[in-house]
Amino acid sequence: MNFITKKAPIVNNSQRSFKRAFTLHFAIIATSIVTVVLKALSSLENPGELAVRAFFMIVVGALVSVLVELAYAYSEKDITKFKNYKGYVIPINTGILIALLLPSITPIYVLILAVVVGVYAGKLVFGGYGYYIFNPVLVGVIFAQLSFGTQLAVFDTPLQLLKEALNGATTNFNILDLFVGNYEAVAIGSTSVILLSIVFIYLLVSKVIDYRISGTFLISVFIISFGIGVINYYVSGDFSGVFDYVLVNMITGLTFFGAAFLISETVSSPTSRETKIVYAVVVAVLMMTVRVLGDNAEGLVFAILFGNMITPFINRTVKRSNKKTLIKTVVISLVFVIFTSIALGMILQGRVEEIYALVGGVL
């Protein structure tokens, strides 16, 4: 009697990577639907039209992404993957995410180009799912933003208003509006934080995203924006300015969307717990730097792409993971985040010399 010596799969552990992709798929579709509904109910100009446009974009995004993958599979003469729905899940996820990351005023040709570039140049040329270095979603989005900046420009997003407030303009934010996503959004996906946090928790519990990446990211953003807020808006005893600053940074823009769908994307992020923390901190710091100092009011896309870029490098720096290195990483990251927060706050006030002094003092 002869036997196969291939190791049989261990069935007790029900975690499967395609199940995770399905969970994400479900979360993305649910988010899209609720987002479209919220758009229709918002108090912006022409809510109905906006919602229809958003819906249309999401569908087109998914469709184009699937078509590109199919065309590629045909050219490679291997379409077995697309025999059942399982093969479509990841392409659809990518397509919808690209659509959700563009504003609803995006011309359709821009969206199509973004998806083609993202899926082809970001994913397929590297060998497909599992092998790419940069998150294909972000590759597509950054391509659109760099090439069609004017067509995509959205004005008066909360983050921009916040930036202008620094130059003396006064803005009052309606907290409730911020929570339900009733504001000019930099992207379709920058929607109600209530919805996004539900999705976030769902994905966290179902282990699709890693709390060490997304959690560290959110905490870092919180600390940095709080620091900047305190330095710039604190008027003896009155915390309302600080509160507004932190709130707008945390719940508008792409902060939560990124935490739920982008930054924890496993293939392009590091694999061990220490490096995950470092990665999340780097992304948070860069994002806040761009938000504060850059021309762009939203820096997440840049920041994550940069994080992806250094991932192979930080992956290479770890040798093993144990308690000592973990604690060291956490402490260093915390110090770094706090320092960034102070430094950014001071730069905003033009107190650059003081930062040099601070660095000098520490050294």
Binding site: N2, F3, I10, N12, N13, S17, T266, T271
Partner: protein, 406 residues
């Protein structure tokens, strides 16, 4: 599902390998035509300077020496003995109550008891100057449905408790721990508890539903230093409760291991059963006793734990004292997906190394990186393979890296 308890202790011939995976050289002490008794020395096998006897498990005439595969899949010389069913024993020395460390160690050496549990992080019953801790595992969960035989445990709890005490004497142990399953039946726990309550043995419960190398962590906390691949080097002797029973029999009754409990499971067999079987029985005879294989193509034969055991391509091997379970099932290939770099394997690794990164380095053949990642510290527990959501056999990659570079 195990539905029956059976005995198969009267095979007409037994096949006893004279070497094993560690003791690779042997001096044969008998010749074809000799008559041997139970417990008589057939050969002496060597691992460097250490030697261990190979004992007969039946009385009868030696028929021939034969090349067969052993339970590790390697072709080695087997002594074939015809069982005359008289079961005459070669009397080894027995000990009543008080016994010294050296005496227990002697019994272990003379009766070839060093090697009993071989899967995962279990150690041999080797003792050295550093030996300080004895950890005995009274739970054994395995996929899909092999589990501890609690009937056996209840019936022999006194012997087992005595065996554990003998182990701790042999190790000069500062501390002796027994690991039990949280879901252990009340009665078994009670019986065992009754026997060990007087003895200085700590009981630790483990939740067998969570696969997270709790035993490894307990041992790590115990010794409070980085564990080496062989726990004996850390002064720990880690074995399962069956070994305690065998030690009891050897010391108190003077009998070597002649029979063993083997769980035979899997959907390729019509009946699944726990056997009490004589060591040296051919596995094919047991299969026959179970009514043969069902009509299944693509069969998979697995010896030992699913996480760490091994696969054979033939079923023509003989049961040895290190075989505790055999599973024969249809191979249900689940496609391996690509590594999604989730890092689950890195998180679970009890040795604190990074299997995903090692696999990556191995794929790209970067030897310096493999060394840098402390690949040699892998204890081959198999947890990385267990947790992988893409069903990649991560352990195989780590092993490959270890073998190639280490």
């Amino acid at each position: 599902m195990i539905t029956e308890y059976r005995t198969y202790i009267n095979p007409s011939k037994v096949y006893i390998p004279i070497t094993d995976s560690e003791y690779k050289m042997a001096n044969v002490k008998v010749a074809v035509g000799d008559r041997v008794l139970i417990g008589e020395k057939l050969a002496e096998k060597f691992k460097g300077k250490n030697k261990s006897p190979v004992l007969s498990t039946v009385s009868g005439k030696i028929l021939e020496f034969k090349d067969m595969i052993d339970r590790y899949g390697k072709v080695v010389d087997h002594v074939v003995i015809e069982n005359d069913k008289l079961y005459e024993k070669f009397q080894h020395k027995t000990f009543e109550h008080s016994i010294t460390t050296a005496e227990v160690r002697n019994v272990i050496n003379n009766l070839g008891l060093n090697k009993i549990s071989v899967d995962g992080i279990f150690t041999n019953l080797d003792f050295n100057a550093k030996s300080k801790y004895v950890v005995v595992n009274a739970m054994f969960t395995n996929e899909p449905f092999i589990s501890t035989d609690y009937e056996f445990l209840i019936k022999h709890s006194a012997e087992m408790a005595d065996g554990i005490e003998l182990l701790s004497i042999a190790a000069n142990a500062e501390k002796t721990i027994i690991l039990v399953d949280k879901f252990m039946p009340e009665e078994a726990l009670l019986e065992l508890g009754k026997e060990i309550v007087e003895k200085d043995i700590e009981v630790i419960t483990i939740d067998s539903k969570k696969v997270n190398a709790k035993d490894y962590k307990i041992i790590k906390n115990l010794v409070n230093e980085t564990l080496s691949v062989n726990l004996v080097d850390n002064g720990v002797v880690y074995t399962e409760i069956g070994a305690a029973k065998m030690l009891h029999d050897a010391v108190r009754l003077g009998v070597p291991v002649v029979t063993r409990k083997v769980a035979i499971t899997g959907d390729a067999l019509n009946i699944n059963a726990v056997y009490e079987t004589r060591i040296g029985t051919r596995f094919t005879e047991l299969v026959e006793d179970l009514g043969g294989y069902s009509e299944i193509k693509n069969m998979n034969l697995h010896i030992g734990s699913f996480l760490t055991g091994i696969q054979l391509d033939s079923d023509d091997f003989a049961i040895t004292q290190t075989v505790d379970s055999v599973n024969v099932a249809e191979y249900r290939g689940v496609d391996e997906d690509v590594c999604i770099k989730c890092g689950d394997c890195n998180d679970i690794c009890p040795a604190g190394i990074l299997p995903q990164n090692i696999m990556d380095a191995e794929l790209r053949s970067v030897n310096s990186r493999i060394v840098e990642l402390n690949t040699d510290e892998c204890v081959e527990c198999g947890l990385c393979t267990y947790v992988c959501p893409s069903k990649i056999n991560v352990l195989e990659w780590v092993r490959r890296a270890k073998r190639r570079v280490g």
